[in-house]
């Protein structure tokens, strides 16, 4: 008895292990692949003081429909696949404003907006750019209760879309009972980003202090905000807004560090370079950065130049100010810039916009400086003040819309006028940063930084505290300036952001339930036919008949 128990144990254990193996097999049987797998990017989801905007859901599990769907199709359990090429913006606008129920939206963008693709630009880009920008502005400011995703066109998706269109036109939309394509995005529900961090980077180039001079040297600040905001945070590269400003700032820092490295050519001004974050959110980062200045530094700043979008202009730039143009510093700066501009063939205009302190909207970076009582101006190609989340680096702001010559000319303009002011050569026709000299503007430096910026999405809430790009900017500033300080601040409470910006979309081709029912019928009849055939050939026809006639024959016998 005991021996048998001991013998049973290993048998039992092996049985248990077999059962466990079976369970493991059952569990991991969901590893089947889809026909097509595509990277998709979600529309941004955010709240302003609790008011929701953007796409509020992330998970998707519905059938796909194209724009040619038959009337009467159930849209609340379907995903509309819309290529941006065929986009009818008023239709989408009506759909969103009427709050019609929909399972999801998938926008297909042309490959030219894909910073990872190596395709050269094609025709009709300007047209697409405007359409995409308008679509973005529409989507950002609407509360959409279903998932909205962006994807790039490629061959797989195009064939799938053509198939869907064919099915829809023939009047058979995809649902559970008919076949078709099913789009599945399986991600977790989006959560709030806990404390979105804004990182401001500042670099300091000290000027030459004369011996025995007790006074502090005056300072000139050059500032650019480097972060972006767009409809798809994972795709918001903002090459022009404000990648061009960042590149110009870095190049100016490089040129002046060359000048300042030699004590004989060091100017009597300190230079403060600032790369600020939080630009789209009323320049919140700049506000916090300025608040952290101590009083002495604030008093020594003569004026600040803010750079915003200087990468795609032809021959006209604007200086935006909030202090009246009669102010001495503003007058000086503007005259300096316009004189140099004349020499370079650039028309520089002046625009004055008063600040309204009660209005919390800050349209330009210099307005934050003005609120902190520092004279400042913004140099930009944009002529009118942008609204909330306009010109903040949209989807359409890709590398091929930025002209590096424009950036080079801007750098020359700013550097020359600054240098003439610092070294006291105002009004004189001297070219400090001449093209063939050792202080020439370096086009390949500008090109490589523009390329890098056009491939990095820089939406501040989604940049972590030690994000590699921010560290790279800091390191670059450290090469050109001394005393680089990285300051981390939390984004102001009225903006809340939600994560889940990138996902993978699985496209399955599913067969309908009716197909399987039909198949069951066919198989059932096949097996019955096989059965009858085998009975007839091996046992004879009588046997088959007797299978069905047994009860009556028994009755005959008993009778």
């Amino acid at each position: 008895m005991a021996a048998k128990k001991h013998g049973d144990r290993p048998v039992l254990e092996s049985v248990y292990s077999v059962i466990a193996l079976v369970f493991v097999l059952v569990a991991c049987a969901e590893l089947c692949g889809a026909a097509t797998v595509v990277d998709v990017y979600r529309l941004i989801q955010y709240d302003i003081s609790g008011v929701p905007f953007g796409s509020r859901l992330a998970g998707l599990n519905h059938h796909a429909l194209s724009l040619h769907f038959p009337p009467g199709a159930d849209l609340s359990r379907a995903v509309l696949v819309i290529p941006v090429r065929d986009l009818n913006l008023s239709y989408v606008k009506d759909y969103l404003s009427e709050r019609q129920p929909l399972g999801g939206l998938l926008f297909l963008l042309p490959q030219i907006f894909n910073f990872e693709s190596k395709e050269s630009s094609g025709d009709g880009e300007e047209l697409f750019k405007n359409i995409v920008m308008e679509l973005e502005q529409l989507l950002i400011h609407t509360n959409i209760p279903y998932p909205v995703y962006f994807a790039f066109e490629n061959d797989d998706i195009n064939t799938v879309l053509a198939d869907i269109k064919r099915n829809d036109v023939s009047g058979q939309p995809a649902t559970a009972t008919t076949g078709g394509y099913k789009l599945v995005v399986s991600t977790t529900e989006p959560k709030k980003v806990a404390s979105p961090v804004m990182s401001n980077i500042q670099g300091w180039l000290p000027g030459l202090k004369a011996d025995g001079d007790p006074n502090q040297l005056p300072t000139i600040a050059i500032v650019a905000s480097y972060d972006t905001f767009g409809a798809a945070p994972a795709l918001s590269v903002g090459t022009d807004s404000n990648g061009s400003g960042v590149v110009a700032l870095l190049e100016i820092a490089r040129l002046f560090s060359l000048l300042y490295s030699n004590p004989k050519t060091r100017g009597r001004y300190n230079l403060l370079f600032g790369l600020t974050s939080g630009g789209p959110y009323n320049y919140n980062g700049t506000h916090k950065w300025l608040r952290s200045f101590d009083q002495r530094l604030r008093e020594t700043i003569d004026y600040a130049i803010c750079l915003n979008s200087i990468g795609s202009w032809n021959n006209e730039l604007w200086i935006h100010v909030s202090k009246p143009p009669e102010n001495a510093y503003i007058k000086q700066a503007f005259e300096g810039l316009s004189n140099v501009g004349e020499e370079l063939g650039i028309k520089v205009g002046l625009k004055h916009k008063k600040i309204n302190i009660s209005n919390s909207r800050v349209a330009w970076e210099h307005e934050q400086f003005s609120r902190h009582r520092i004279t400042a101006a913004t140099l930009s190609e944009i002529s009118t003040a942008p609204g909330l989340f306009e010109n903040t680096g949209s989807l359409a702001d890709s590398r091929n819309f930025v002209n590096e010559d424009a950036v080079i000319k801007s750098v020359k303009l700013i550097a020359e006028s600054l240098a003439r002011h610092i070294y006291g050569h105002r009004g004189k026709n001297i070219q400090i940063f001449a093209d063939e000299g050792s202080l020439a503007v370096n086009p390949s430096y500008i090109r490589s930084w523009l390329d890098l910026l056009s491939r990095t999405a820089r939406v501040a809430p989604f940049l972590s505290k030690n994000d590699p790009f921010v560290m790279a900017l800091k390191k670059e500033l450290e090469e050109h300036t001394e005393e680089v300080i990285l300051q981390n601040e939390v984004l102001d409470g009225i903006f809340t952001f939600y994560d889940s910006t990138k996902a993978t979309l699985n496209i399955y081709q599913v067969a309908s339930v009716t197909f399987d029912l039909l198949l069951l019928l066919v198989l059932g009849s096949y097996l019955i036919v096989l059965f009858s055939f085998l009975v007839i050939t091996t046992r004879g026809l009588d046997d088959l008949i007797s299978l069905f006639r047994r009860p009556p024959s028994r009755k005959v016998k008993t009778a």
Partner: protein, 228 residues
Amino acid sequence: MTVFHFFNCAILTFGPHAVYYSATPLSEYDTLGTSVKAALVYLGTALVKLVCLATFLKVSENESFDPYQELLKALIGFIDVAGLYFALTQLTHRNISQNHKFQAVGLGWAFADSVLHRLAPLWVGARGLEFTWDYILQGLEANANLVFSISLAALGSLMWLRKNKPKTLIPIIYACAGIVATMPSITSYLRRGLGWHFPKVVGFELFTSLAMAFISWQLFSACQRPSA
């Protein structure tokens, strides 16, 4: 819905075996034990084949047809025939007639083949959302395989169990047995060398299986006449 599809494909792959067992006199004579033993012999044969394949074959990078490799695979395929010989002759069966013995052995052989080769892909693949025709075609292939196994078992029993055969038929019997035994090599040549698609290959298999079954049935009844 997709479990439904799995159920359908499972019926197609394994149903005919059950139907064959219940429809023919095999169920009356309770030959289940023979089939089970044949299935176990198939398992052993498959293991031996695996070891030989692993030892002797090189893994090719592309899907092309390499004659030397295919020849090696065909030679290893003859281990199948050896296994069938073992199952037919060496195992002790209850007193059942030769007619039913080869059917039971063929049935067990084909059932084990289907389970080993087709159950796992079916379980993992047919339950997913994505629909392909592959699993239905695999089921049809299982059907063709059943017919092949029974034909091979019939020819095998003719070759090894029947002592008095008409002299003229002997070479035909061996030739047919050879063709059926090398079917796997032929299908892989069609798929890789000629580049046929799966549905075409399955169609070819079904057609040849029916043809072979007919021929072996004729041979079997021809050999049966003298003793009758």
